[in-house]
Subunit: 213 residues, 2 copies
């Protein structure tokens, strides 16, 4: 693993505001971050999102325009777009069920579990289902940020963008997906990032944590 | 760090279905997991959630009743409850602004940033604000699960509970909080957990990831 402790990784990472456009993240490091996204746990194992990895400069420039011009999108080398399912459908949950059966065997409990899930999810409003799927993407976002830190790679989580425009740029609507959050990958510009020298602001443990003993 | 690689941690962890009630997680390991929650990044640094750490057996038994009797809640030694802000308010965002000023100085940009945030968030519907806060808690949930794995501690992320009942048991409503997700901590019962010997089911990289080059 990294020569940093887990605690050091928590402090080393920060939402990089200025990336060095001359440095690209090597493929093996990008792969390790993608693997963390793929392995992140999700509700009932549905993995209700996809990951779009954009390196194309023109596409990134277009996405940047839909994101208030935030520079890490183009100064970084890779842009991860987390895109959640726009709804839960029978077909999508059946595919999850089949993947379970393929690996674990045709167990009646698997059928029962996912048939119950379909009965619970599919009739719900699409917005509720999308919101649930988007939350799962945030678990994977957390995994991706820690995997990046472990690889010595910087990243910038971004909610500040126009999702409808990003969906259009990437053709997500046709795939039944909606963009949830962006994560450019790259390397910090140590001299140019105003945020880097600033102390990290976090609530105290006393403020944030209650013990019920 | 752990003697496991990051990739090994991703594979070692699983949603533990049966914990060994005879083994308690030591305080230093719980502290490391809490620290990961505290240091997790959130939108605009608001950290719009709190963490309730329940060890009290009676309280955990009551929560278990509101969670379909899931045994890790009482077989584990600690129950983490992620509780998000029920709304964004001027006072809450002002407290974040003040924490920034205390650490970074009284910079006009800080005022401007958080005043804009208040103007954008506070007039919105409380449900929209809660949903946004809950997403941030899921980043911290991801951080907590990886911190637990790094500590060799098992955990079980749980959405299957009655949030209104858990809010009542913990007195969250009075604090302007709503329970989002539960995470019991403990140690796997290697002989008793049906899920442990099962292969992990994840989508292939080809299914989940699209490259735009």
């Amino acid at each position: 693993m990294s020569d940093k402790s887990f605690n050091e990784l928590l402090n080393w990472r920060y939402a990089t505001k200025k990336m060095d456009p001359s440095k690209a993240v090597p493929q093996d490091k990008v792969d390790a971050i993608i693997e963390a996204v793929r392995m992140a746990p999700t509700s009932s194992g549905t993995q209700p999102f996809e990951l779009i990895v954009v390196t194309n400069p023109e596409v990134r420039a277009n996405i940047q325009k839909a994101a208030s011009g935030q520079t890490p999108i183009t100064d970084g080398s890779h842009l991860l777009v987390f895109a959640a399912w726009d709804n839960y459908t029978d077909a999508r949950i059946d595919a999850v069920k089949q993947a379970n059966i393929n690996l674990r065997g045709d167990i009646p409990l698997i059928h029962q579990y996912y048939d119950n899930l379909k009965a619970g999810y599919v009739p719900r409003d699409a917005e509720i289902n999308y919101a649930h799927a988007a939350r799962q993407a945030y678990i994977a976002l957390g995994f991706a940020m820690l995997a990046a830190a472990e690889q010595g790679v910087d990243c910038t989580p971004m909610e500040g963008f126009d999702p409808a425009k990003v969906d259009e740029i990437l053709g997500l609507k046709e795939k039944g997906l909606r963009s949830v959050v962006l994560l450019p990958l790259g390397y910090r510009d140590e001299a140019g990032d105003w945020l880097l020298p600033m102390p990290k602001v976090r609530k105290s443990r006393e403020t944030m944590v209650t013990f019920v003993e």
